[in-house]
């Protein structure tokens, strides 16, 4: 497996007032972990624990106060704004809690948008939109505007939009938070299926127990600090790549080493 994301001692602080040198509040403290291609990984924790901050940093829509963040081996701190935009455009797909579809576009056009900004030809766009909508089971709803779709359908369109350009990484911020149980379950199954079938790497923030049940690895955050980084399988508690990560109990690493041997 190749490394998609590497987070190295990343800290993100926000000023509480206009004086940026004083009264800093830390949203993320020295977070370190790695994500391998094909993982289905959840970042969990209570509200205000830093989940969205971490996702924003990995998604290159925010910059760390300190530490390094690498996407496919590229140090994002060394990229200029234009290069960061290009990196997001090509490497990352986003799924948002509130769907964030463009309301004046149809479902098909929303899915087409990432291809449009990549300059993909219209013929290829058509084919890939068709595939993406079929993958989320919404082929019949391609010409519907978002306001004519249910919440679950909208989020499936958002997933189709996030995967249509075949990104290296799909980031989903609380994707099931605005869905009822049935739609949430369908979405979880869908994302999990895409992860298994297409080998797409999913990294999402959630505190939805239903979603956590399906994940293979969970990073738990509390007050901006990684509390644990564990495999969901009860037999294996800690991910092998993070046996030496800060804020993790040393026992987890030993358990992991034992299990691997």
């Amino acid at each position: 497996m190749s490394e998609i994301v590497k987070v190295e001692a990343v800290t993100r602080s926000f000023p509480l007032n206009h004086d940026k040198t004083r009264n800093l509040v830390s949203a993320l403290n020295h977070a370190s972990f790695q994500v391998q291609a094909g993982e289905f990984l959840a970042i969990s924790g209570p509200s205000g624990s830093g989940k969205t901050t971490l996702l924003n940093l990995i998604g290159c829509i925010d910059k760390p106060t300190s530490g390094r963040l690498l996407i496919e081996g590229v140090d994002t701190s060394k990229l200029n704004p234009g290069e960061l935009t290009e990196l997001r455009r090509k490497k990352i797909g986003f799924v948002f809690q509130t769907f964030n579809l463009i309301p004046v576009f149809t479902a098909g056009e929303n899915v087409e948008y990432p291809l449009l900004i990549q300059g993909v030809s219209s013929g290829e766009r058509r084919e890939r939109v068709k595939e993406a909508l079929a993958a989320v089971g919404l082929s019949a709803r391609a010409n519907h505007r978002p306001d004519l779709l249910s919440g679950g359908e909208r989020q499936r369109v958002a997933v189709a939009r996030a995967i249509v350009h075949r990104p290296a990484l799909v980031l989903a911020d609380e994707p099931t938070a605005n869905l009822d149980t049935q739609n949430a379950t369908q979405l979880i199954d869908l994302m999990h299926g895409l992860n298994k079938r297409l080998g797409l790497t999913f990294l999402f923030s959630t505190h939805d127990a239903r979603l956590l049940e399906h994940t293979e690895r969970i990073i738990r955050l509390c007050d901006g600090t990684i509390q644990s980084d564990s495999l969901a399988d009860p037999q294996i508690e800690t991910h092998p790549l993070h046996a030496n990560a800060p804020n993790q109990g040393g026992n987890h690493g030993q358990v992991l080493a034992a299990s691997l041997s």
Binding site: T52, N56, G59, I61, D62, P81, G82, T85, E86, L87, R88, R89, K90, I92, F94, F96, T98, N100, I102, P103, V104, F105, E109, E112, Y113, P114, L116, I117, Q118, R161
Partner: protein, 409 residues
């Protein structure tokens, strides 16, 4: 690009009520400009034709020395062989006719009271053939073949101040070419209202033969040329100028525009007013649009954040906002052009008149001309204004912090 244009187009109509209000404002601005500009153009065109038809003609011929002449002995610099020149001009292209004139001045007296006058001596038949007819409020025009008494037309204000009426006698005095003072008795054939108060207080018109007898000269001061159309002025001038070369007496040809000082002043004044109105509309649309577009930007903050997060180049966001504003401007301009032409047609059909402005004695028809160049200019003003108004919101939208924009409620 097609999809991007589609996105901009749909965004224009996403808040219909606001878009309609914006279109009404933009369209109203264009309609206002078309109505005012169309009316001004009608006034200017009317004044032009009025000026030409009142006797200025399309072209005039003078001696080269005319413009350096002595105001008292006016025929010292007059045209000698004017009949030959008139015949030459008459044969030119687009020429309807040639009328000889003597423009002179002097004193007029009724035996009790005297006043200065500005005289115009004409050939009534030639004037009539060119359609130059004085506005006679009482009496008759000058006779083409006078017998007996010397006839004169007199301005209404001058007649009033001299306390004379049609049929009364007056004596007009002027300086001859020799420098002597000469006088001739005239009988008032008619009273004229030129349309201008100042002119009516000075105006006297006699036949060419009477003036030549008064001024003791066979010369004329100028030849007035009437053309088949004002539009042919330049072509006729270009064709006639070579024919006037090589004459024993050097003469010059002047176009009506070179002589219509009052027309030019009025035209420049209307241009100034229209420019002022254009600036007002421009800033009105600009200010109102900046506010509307900023509102639209704030409402779409999260959407813009989403687009930026997905990797949309910031310049695309700027382009999108400017495109939306320009599209709104185009739609508003179309609405304004349609509205302006419709309202203009209704006004024209209604036959409305405006009260006579200061200096004029007749009311002016309220008529609006439909001028394509004006429609283009007015549309450009509002489209440019909206495009300009969108720059600030567009730049602000493109500079949004993505994480903050995504958290925007």
């Amino acid at each position: 690009m097609g999809k991007f244009l589609l996105l901009a187009f749909r965004n224009v109509f996403r808040n219909r009520r606001r878009t309609i209000m914006t279109l009404l404002m933009v369209g109203g601005g264009v309609t206002g400009l078309l109505l005012s500009g169309g009316f001004f153009a009608f006034m200017i065109d009317g004044l032009r034709e009025h000026t030409i038809q009142e006797g200025l003609g399309h072209l005039q011929i003078f001696t080269a020395e005319h413009f350096r002449r002595d105001e008292v002995r006016v025929l010292d610099t007059g045209i000698d062989n004017w009949r030959q020149i008139a015949a030459t001009i008459q044969a030119g292209p687009h020429v309807r006719g040639v009328a000889p004139r003597i423009e002179f001045n002097g004193m007029v007296s009724n035996g009790v009271k005297s006043s200065i006058f500005m005289g115009s001596a004409v050939d009534p038949a030639a004037e009539s053939s060119l359609g130059f007819r004085p506005r006679i409020s009482e009496g008759n025009d000058l006779s083409s073949k006078p017998t007996g008494e010397v006839e004169a037309l007199i301005g209404s204000s001058l007649a009033k101040s001299m306390n004379v009426k049609v049929g009364d006698g007056l004596t007009i005095l002027a300086v001859t070419s020799d420098g002597a003072l000469n006088g001739v008795d005239v009988q008032i054939a008619g009273i004229v209202k030129t349309g201008y108060d100042e002119m009516d207080a000075r105006y006297i018109r006699v036949t060419l033969a009477s003036a030549q007898r008064l001024l003791q000269s066979d010369r004329v001061t100028n030849l007035v040329v009437g053309l088949d159309s004002t539009a042919n002025t330049d072509a006729a001038a270009a064709a006639l100028t070579p024919r006037l070369q090589g004459l024993p007496q050097k003469v010059v040809l002047k176009k009506w525009i070179d002589l219509a000082t009052y027309y030019l002043q009025v035209r420049n004044m209307f241009f100034g007013i229209f420019l002022f109105l254009g600036i007002i509309v421009f800033f009105m649309v600009l200010m109102a649009s900046v506010n509307t577009l900023l509102m639209a930007m704030f409402e779409r903050t999260r959407e813009i954040g989403t687009m930026l997060a997905m990797g949309t180049p910031r310049i695309w966001i700027v382009t999108l906002f400017m495109l939306e504003a320009t599209l709104t401007g185009c739609l508003g301009a179309v609405a304004g052009v349609l509205g302006g032409n419709l309202l203009g047609s209704i006004i024209n059909a209604s036959g409305m008149h405006m009260p006579a402005p200061p200096g004029l004695t007749v009311p002016i028809a309220f008529h609006v001309l439909h001028i394509p160049a004006l429609m283009i200019a007015s549309s450009f003003i509002v489209i440019f204004s909206l495009a300009l108004a969108s720059i600030l919101p567009a730049i602000r939208a493109s500079r949004l912090q993505i994480a903050e924009a995504l958290a925007h409620v």
